[in-house]
C-alpha cells in the first residue's frame, strides 16, 4: 500500500488575477486548486486523469459511459436530485470525456442563493460515491444484433449520442483520419465514445471496476474559481472529498497506477495507409489532414505550432483562407482551417477543409502546395510572426474573462501536462519564442509527406 504523502501547498501567479492562486495537495493525494476571483459567478470542477487512453478493446467507451452514469445518484442523493438542486440555483452542470481526462463542472451564481457549501458537498459526493444502479444503466442489449429493450435508460442515451456524431460530417472525417494515424496498440486509436455493442452490453461490474480503479485521490484535481476565503474553502473541500469514507478506498489506492506511460507510446504512429476515403450522403466534400506533433508537455514546441496554426488557418488573414477561399476565383473551397490538439501522448495538428470540386487530387494538391511553401521556401515572415504573437496574447487574455475559462485552462494543463506552467508561463513563452523556433517546429512536424489524409466524398459522384 502506498504511504500517505505529506500535504503540499504551492502559490502561483496568474496573469490578470490580482491574488496568487493556490495549489494544495492533501495527504490522501487529492489536489485542490483555488483561484480567487471577485464577481457574480463561481466554477467548481473535478478533473480525473482518465479517459479513452486507459481503455481497451473490451471496455472502449467506458470512461464516457461512466461520466453519464455519475449523474445517476449516490446512497445519499438518488438520481436526479443533484441535477435538480444545482439547476434550481441557476447553475450550469455538465461533464466531458476526452482521450486524456474526464471532468465534471458546475458554474453558478455566487451571490444569488449562497448555497456554495451544498454545491461542494453534492459535487464531491457525486465524484466519490456514485452507485451506478442497474436500474439507471438499463438492461443489457446489443444494438448490432437488432435488440431493443422496452426502456433503454442510459445505455440508450449514449447509443443515441453515437448516432448524433455519426451524422456530423466533421466528426466522421476526424474519426477516419484518427483511425489511420495510430497503430493498433495505441490508446488514442479508439474513439472516446466507444461502440454501440460495448455500451449496450458492458456489465455494471466492469464499469464499477473501472470507476474504482481510476477515480482515486491521486488521480483527481478539483478546481475552484470564485470569490471565497481560502482557509474555509480548503476545510470544506477536504471534508467533502473524504476518500476514507469510500467503502473500498484502500483497495483503490493499492490498485492505483499512473495512466498510460507517455514514453511507451512515442513513435507508435500509424505505419500503414496514409490516405482513406469514404462515401457519404453529404453533397460537399470534407477532408482532414492530420499530423503527429510534440508531446503536450513540450510547451515550447506546442506554442510554436499554435503560432503556425494561427498563421496557416485560424484567422481571416491566414494563408489558407486568403489563398484558397478569399482570393481564388472561382474557388472550390468553402472553408479551410487548422487547429492543434494538445495531448499527453503527443499532440495532433489538423488541417480541415470543405470543398465542392470532384477533383480531390487537385484540391489536396492546392492544400499541399501552400503547406510545402510554408515548410520550405516561404516560411513564416517576421510580420506574420509579430502579428500572431500579439494576437495570441489577446486571445489568451480572453480566456480569463470567465470563471470556467480559467478553470478549464488550468484543469487541462494540470491533467495533460502535469503542471500549471502551460498556463502561467504562456505570456513569457510568447515573449521569448523566436520566428526560428516556429520554423523549426513546422519543419519537424508539418512536412506534407507526414500527413495522414481522410476524405468524405458524396456517394453519388
Amino acid at each position: 500500500m502506498m504511504a500517505p504523502a505529506a500535504p503540499t501547498l504551492e502559490a502561483f501567479s496568474l496573469p490578470y488575477i490580482p491574488q496568487k492562486a493556490v495549489k494544495h495537495t492533501f495527504k490522501n493525494g487529492h489536489t485542490l486548486v483555488f483561484v480567487q476571483r471577485s464577481g457574480a459567478v463561481f466554477n467548481i470542477s473535478s478533473w480525473v486523469k482518465t479517459g479513452s487512453m486507459n481503455e481497451d478493446e473490451q471496455n472502449n467507451g467506458v470512461s464516457h459511459f461512466l461520466e453519464h452514469l455519475m449523474f445517476k445518484g449516490t446512497p445519499r442523493f438518488e438520481a436526479g436530485v443533484f441535477d435538480k438542486k444545482m439547476e434550481s440555483m441557476g447553475a450550469l452542470i455538465n461533464a466531458a470525456t476526452w482521450k486524456d481526462y474526464t471532468f465534471y463542472h458546475v458554474t453558478g451564481p455566487n451571490t444569488q442563493f449562497n448555497e456554495f457549501d451544498t454545491v461542494v458537498d453534492m459535487h464531491a459526493d457525486m465524484i466519490l460515491h456514485s452507485d451506478l444502479p442497474d436500474s439507471e444503466i438499463g438492461e443489457a442489449y446489443d444494438p448490432d444484433k437488432g435488440e431493443t429493450p422496452e426502456l433503454k435508460r442510459e445505455r440508450g442515451v449514449v447509443i443515441e449520442e453515437i448516432g448524433l456524431y455519426e451524422d456530423r460530417p466533421w466528426t466522421r472525417v476526424y474519426n477516419l483520419v484518427n483511425d489511420i494515424m495510430y497503430d493498433e496498440s495505441h490508446p488514442y486509436r479508439r474513439e472516446v465514445i466507444g461502440t454501440r455493442h460495448i455500451v449496450g452490453t458492458i456489465s455494471r461490474e466492469a464499469i464499477l471496476s473501472y470507476y474504482r480503479r481510476w477515480y482515486t485521490p491521486e488521480n483527481i484535481t478539483t478546481l475552484v474559481v470564485g470569490d471565497f476565503e481560502w482557509d474555509a474553502l480548503k476545510e470544506k473541500v477536504e471534508k467533502a472529498f473524504n476518500f476514507a469514507d469510500r467503502p473500498d478506498a484502500k483497495d483503490a489506492l493499492k490498485s492505483y497506477k499512473e495512466p498510460a506511460k507517455v514514453e511507451s507510446f512515442v513513435g507508435k504512429v500509424g505505419q500503414g495507409e496514409r490516405y482513406i476515403e469514404q462515401k457519404s450522403e453529404f453533397t460537399t466534400r470534407f477532408v482532414t489532414l492530420g499530423f503527429h506533433g510534440p508531446l503536450a508537455s513540450d510547451l515550447k514546441a506546442t506554442l510554436a505550432l499554435d503560432i503556425a496554426s494561427t498563421v496557416l488557418g485560424e484567422s481571416r488573414a491566414s494563408r489558407f483562407n486568403q489563398k484558397l477561399v478569399e482570393t481564388q476565383t472561382p474557388s472550390a473551397f468553402n472553408t479551410i482551417s487548422t487547429a492543434q490538439y494538445a495531448l499527453k501522448l503527443g499532440n495532433v495538428f489538423y488541417i480541415m477543409a470543405n470543398y465542392n470540386t470532384a477533383n480531390d487530387e487537385a484540391a489536396l494538391a492546392e492544400i499541399t502546395a501552400i503547406l510545402d511553401a510554408f515548410t520550405g521556401e516561404e516560411p513564416i515572415t517576421e510580420e506574420e510572426f509579430a502579428r500572431t504573437v500579439k494576437k495570441m496574447k489577446v486571445d489568451f487574455a480572453r480566456g480569463f474573462e470567465t470563471c470556467s475559462g480559467i478553470a478549464d485552462a488550468l484543469g487541462d494543463a494540470l491533467t495533460v501536462t502535469g503542471s500549471v506552467e502551460a498556463v502561467t508561463g504562456t505570456l513569457e513563452r510568447l515573449e521569448s519564442l523566436t520566428r526560428q523556433d516556429v520554423i523549426d517546429a513546422v519543419n519537424t512536424y508539418l512536412k506534407p509527406s507526414l500527413a495522414y489524409t481522410a476524405v468524405l466524398v458524396p456517394q453519388h459522384d
Partner: protein, 460 residues
Amino acid sequence: MTKLLNSIETIPLLSGPTLLFVHQAGTPRLSINIYTKGGNCIDYFPGEMDVIDRLLLKGTYAETSEEIAVKLDDLCLDLDTDTARDYSIMSASMQAEDLEKNLAFIKDLLFYSTLEGLQKEKEKLKGELQMSLDSPTAVAKDLLSRKLWNGLPYGTSASTMLSSLGKLWRNDNVFLHYQQAYRPNRMVISVAGDVDRERLITALDAAFSLPRAKGTDGEMEMGRLFKEHRLKESRIFTTPWEEAAQAQILQSWLMPPATSKDYVPLAVLDNILGSAGLSSRLFLELRDKQGLAYSVRSSLSLLKHRGTFTLYIGTEPSNVQKCLEGFADEVKKLQDVLVGEEELENAKRNLIGKRSVFLETVGQTSSYVGSAYLAGHDLKSLASLDEKINAVTAEQIQKVAQKYLSKESVTVVVAPSEFLPKSPFFKHSKQDDTTTTETEAKAKTSTKKDDKTETAPVAV
C-alpha cells in the same frame, strides 16, 4: 446583476444612433455591438442583407479585403458581422485604450464599403450554405423555418438564400440597398465595459457623423403581415435522409412578439418543459426514463414581430412515433395539470440564477442589452425581470399552455424514408376517439398532400 442592469443608460447620440451603455468597472475589454435595424425583414431577396454584411469586410475605398484582414489582426480587434431576423450586427471586442483608433476603422467599414466583391461573395456564401446543409439537423431546421413562416422574412433559411442568390446580380441595386440601410439614425449601439461615458459619446459621435440622409425601414407594413400570419392546420413535413443514424424531429408553434405580457409565463413554461437543462420534463421523461435521445429540449424565441416555441429531439429513426407521442403527452400535461409548487419555484430560481452566469462577460452583457432593446423590451424592465419571474403562477403557465400550444403547429421529421411518418397529420395513439376522428377527417380532405414529401434542400 440587478445593479448592473439598473445602470443601463439609453442615450440618443447627436450623430443619429441610439447608444445603450452599461458601465462595467474593472473589465479589460470593451464590447461594442452596432445594430442596423431591419435584418432579413428588409431583404429584397432572401439573404440580401447577409451578403451585404459580409461585404462590409471585403473592401472599402481606402483598404482592400486582404488589408482589412491583416489590419484586424494588427489592431487585435475582434470583429464579426451577421444578419438576424430583425437586424444586422457588427460586433467588436477591443482594448478600451484603442477605442478611437478602432472606431475610425469601423466607420470606414460600415459606411464606405465598395461592395465590389459581390459575385465572389455570392459564390462563397453559396458554398458555405451548401456545406451547412450537409447535416440532417440543419436540413430539419431549414424545413421548419420555411414551413412555419410561409414566405415571411423570419423564414429566411439556408435553402431560401440558395434559391435567391442568383437574383442578386446587380451591384448597383445592392449598393443602393446598402446605402439606404446603413444610416446612423437606423442604428443602435450597445456598449459594455470600463470606459469613460463622455469619452465614449465623443468617440461614437465622431465615428457616426455622416452627411447621409435619414432612412426608414417599413416596419409598419411588416408588423401587420406578421400579426396576421396564421398556420392553417397542424402538419408534418418530412425529408428523407437515407444514411441518417438519427431522426431529427422538431415541432414548433407560433408565439406572440417579445413585448407580449405573456413573455414571462412563457419563459417559465419553456424552462419547465425543456430548457432548464438536466431537470426539465422532456429530459427526464424522454431521455432519462426512456433513453430515447441524447439531445432533447424546448426553446422559446420571442422576436420583435412574433416568436416561436419549439421542441427538438434527435432519436434513433424507429422511435419517431414514440417521440411525437412523448411531445404531445408533455404538452397535454402542461395544459391539463397545474405545475407543482416545488417545480415552479425551481424553474424561477433557475431562470434568475442563470441570468448571472450568462452575463459574466462584457460581450454577453452588450449582446443581451442590445438584442432586448431591438426586440422592443423596455430596458428598465430588464432590472425588474426577477420580480416578474417570481410573480408567475401555476395558473398563468397553464393558461399560456392552453392559449398557445393548442393552436396549429408545424412538425418536421428528417430520417431514412422507411421511418418517415406516412401521414402529414399526427395521430396520437393515446388520444380519445373524437380527436383521432377529427385528425383523420382533416387528412381525408387533404389527400393530395399526403405524399408531399419535401425534396432535400441539399439537392437545390
